[in-house]
């Protein structure tokens, strides 16, 4: 029994730490987020050079062959640096879907380009009405010979402005909220009939709504089997929740440390406010919330690495915990910073905003708790 990283994993982690320290001070981060695509393409090339873009891919495709532990090691540090580059969207979601799709031709054509940094991707799974229900898909895909014809609109697509290609979930059969009947298609964002509206989220991401009007996709651009896209979505969501958990953990740790340091310097009524016991106990609550989230992350990573039967339950529990504990830590970080916590100038508010967006991604704490309850108490 041990919770240590391997030497290789430690090196990987350290390379992210160093990148953040050397090239990602808060003002650079602000500029990256404010740029047209919401990130800095130069940094992306650095990621490629450092080998990070290859982490989840099989060695057969030139990948690093990393697992949940490797992703955790990287994402925790990215969280601490509040890195906006679309590692999750392109590598873990888009790349992850390709990786799991079993479609060798698409893998051949795309994974190498992800790894060398030349291909940006995204996963278009949301629609206006879908809220957190991944199976609520109205976008239609109708077979027409060797092609499918897609009509509909996908919304809030991560990395939507930069993505050269996206995977789209569309309905090939069944009713609006059925799990069966969903198919995943790989489309080019400059294909005829694809129209993008881009906008920003409060964490700096530039996302897009993607309107599809009679978009023709070749049948060999289906990921997995027709009508069987849903299990693939679930599998990738599980992987990404671990990544989001690690990112959130990095942020929680950073916010807790920052708050502790701030209270030590901030004077009120003639003393440092860190000396007030009521605030001390609340910072202990922040610390405990972070430690519990760390333990839950480790639990989920161990379950993923060992293919545990109750993986889904651990994933739901992790998402609940980063949502709730993240809120506690974010709220306290702002409150204990007082007026300073409300300024755009300080990084605190920006970390909090990212935590909030992590909470909504793939269903907030309340939604995931319902999922947990269903997995646990419906027998």
């Amino acid at each position: 029994m041990n919770f240590n990283l391997s030497e290789e994993q430690n090196m990987l982690k350290y390379s992210v730490t160093r990148f953040v320290q050397d090239q990602y001070d808060f003002e650079s981060r602000r500029a990256n987020a404010a740029s047209e695509l919401g990130f800095n393409p130069k940094n992306w090339q650095t990621f490629a050079d450092l080998g990070w873009l290859s982490i989840p891919f099989d060695e057969a495709h030139g990948g690093f062959g990393g697992g949940a532990t490797d992703v955790m090691a990287v994402m925790e540090e990215m969280g601490k640096g509040l890195v906006v580059e679309p590692f999750i969207a392109t590598v873990l979601m888009f790349g992850g879907l390709l990786n799991k799709s079993g479609n060798a031709a698409l893998q051949e054509a795309n994974i190498e380009k992800i790894i060398d940094g030349s291909l940006q991707g995204g996963f278009a799974y949301l629609e206006r009405q879908s809220r957190f229900e991944l199976a609520d898909v109205k976008t239609q895909a109708k077979r027409d010979g060797n092609e499918f014809v897609l009509n509909g609109e996908k919304t809030v697509v991560s990395n939507g402005a930069a993505a050269n290609k996206v995977v789209v979930s569309a309905r090939t059969s069944g009713e609006q909220c059925d799990e069966a009947g969903i198919t995943l298609f790989l489309i080019d964002t400059d294909a005829p009939g694809v129209e993008r509206t881009t906008y920003r989220l409060m964490d700096g991401q530039v996302v897009a709504n993607i309107k599809l009007t009679d978009v023709r996709v070749a049948a060999d651009h289906v990921l997995g089997d027709v009508d069987q896209g849903y299990p693939l979505i679930e599998a990738i969501v599980s992987d990404v929740i671990i990544a989001l958990g690690a990112e959130a953990l990095g942020i929680m740790q950073k916010l807790t440390t920052t708050t502790i340091e701030y209270t030590k310097t901030r004077q009120q009524f003639g003393v440092a406010i860190s000396s007030f016991q009521a605030l001390q106990h609340r910072m202990v609550d922040m610390f405990m919330a972070g430690e519990q989230a760390k333990s839950m992350l480790y639990r989920a990573v161990c379950a993923a690495e060992s293919g545990a039967e109750d993986l889904a339950k651990n994933i739901a529990a992790l998402k609940v915990m980063i949502g709730r504990n993240g809120k506690l830590i974010g709220d306290e970080a702002i409150q204990l910073h007082g007026g300073m916590g409300l300024t755009d100038e300080l990084d605190v508010g920006h970390y909090v905003k990212r935590l909030m967006m992590i909470n909504t991604t793939f269903g907030d704490a309340d939604f995931q708790q319902k999922k947990f309850n269903k997995l646990s108490y419906s027998d």
Partner: protein, 393 residues
């Protein structure tokens, strides 16, 4: 025990409702909630309507333009106004500096400043907080030194709401550092056009410009603009703090927001079913609604005690703490209702193209609302006050 309204009070309520339905228009609402340019003009337009009706400064003494309302009438007006979604007046002139002026100012000051406040000709802002002082108001360092008939003011005030729009600022400044921290503070009225004043915008997490830093560099302020005596400013300022706490509670405003939230809950859908059927949301909503139902009566208790001549008392801290907790709980539900869209920033797009009606507004309200537990004396300071003065700890 009696909280039923008299026939006269019911008639007054009808009058208020009629006034609101005629004067609080959609056009005004849109402009007041709009961007910074529109806001000031629209707010003045609204406040002028109130003044035409004689309701802009009901709490002032009648001879200066007040309405001589009972506590109950005041409660009725505030409730109806909030439920209609109409904003409070900008308080810095009307509710904060005016009571100091008519309470402690000279006859000349009353004549000079009060009519212009009532006619919305002067906008005021509040210069209390300083960098590094926060809820510890008495730690202020901005200095005023007498030089002939003027004070020379140096220092900085921070978190100054609407300084960018203001004609005047009322300030606490230090004129003596030798004694207790609460002594040696003087209350000055300062013309914002005075040479040496710089207003620096503070960008805040809600992307809205309301906060500023106001820097004073050898600003000359005539002694005639001093309220009362030199070094006694703390006494004049203190009287306002309890009022501020009570009004921050914003009970009626929360009632309206909760009502609106409930409507949205019935409109938003998950898995094809309205979220109003979701038991988790129902419980969160009722947790807040029940606290608010109680707080409404806590406020009435405070008002009844005021009407009895006992003053609002130290319960105003309770109102401030619970009231702001409720506000933030409502803002959180508003966000959670918006789901993925709670992070959306409209920019060049709008609700229609982005695909969600209120995500952008929810985010702004949530971020702006973080301040409520911090300003007006942070909730932690309110707990210290309650522990000391109410519980005797």
């Amino acid at each position: 025990m009696d909280i039923t309204f008299s026939a006269e009070e019911l008639a007054f309520r009808d009058q208020v409702r009629a006034f609101l339905s005629e004067n609080w228009t959609d056009n005004l609402a849109t402009r007041i909630r709009g961007d910074n340019q529109e806001f000031k003009a629209a707010q003045i337009e609204w406040q002028n309507k109130l003044n035409d009706q004689g309701w802009l400064a009901p709490g002032w003494p009648v001879e200066h333009g007040g309405a001589d309302w009972s506590v109950t009438e005041n409660f009725i007006f505030e409730t109806e106004r909030s439920l209609a979604g109409a904003p409070d007046v900008v308080p810095f002139g009307l509710k904060m500096v005016a009571p100091v002026i008519y309470g402690f100012g000279s006859e000349e000051q009353k004549k000079r400043f009060l009519p212009r406040i009532l006619k919305n000709e002067d906008w005021w802002c509040q210069g209390y907080s300083e960098p590094g002082a926060g809820s510890d108001l008495a730690a202020l360092k901005t200095k005023a030194e007498l030089d002939g008939d003027d004070y020379i003011v140096n220092g900085a005030k921070v978190w100054t709401t609407y300084a960018q729009y203001s004609d005047w600022i009322f300030c606490l400044v230090r004129t003596d550092s030798s004694g207790k921290r609460q002594d040696g503070i003087t209350f000055l009225l300062i013309d914002m056009k005075s040479p040496g004043i710089t207003v620096n915008k503070i960008s805040s997490i809600d992307d809205h410009h309301s906060l500023n830093e106001v820097v004073f560099d050898n600003v000359r302020v005539p002694v005639a603009n001093r309220i009362g005596e030199q070094d006694k400013g703390w006494t004049y300022a203190k009287a306002l703090l309890a009022h501020e706490r009570t009004s921050i509670a914003a009970v009626a405003d929360s009632k309206r927001r909760l009502r609106d939230l409930r409507k949205l809950l019935a409109q938003e859908v998950s898995g094809g079913r309205p979220l109003s059927e979701d038991t988790q949301f129902q419980n969160r909503l009722s947790n807040t609604e029940i606290e608010l139902m109680a707080l409404e009566y806590t406020e009435l208790r405070v008002l009844a005690s005021t009407a009895d001549g006992k003053g609002p008392g130290v319960e105003s801290s309770l109102l401030k703490i619970k009231g702001t907790e409720i506000q933030q709980a409502i803002q959180q539900m508003y966000m959670d209702l918006a789901g993925y869209y709670s992070g959306v920033i409209h920019g060049e797009e709008n609700a229609e193209t982005i695909g969600h009606a209120f995500g952008h507004d929810a985010r702004k309200a949530y971020m702006y609302g973080r301040a409520a537990t911090i300003y007006g004396g942070s909730n932690e300071v309110q707990k210290n006050i309650t522990a000391k003065y109410v519980l005797g700890l």
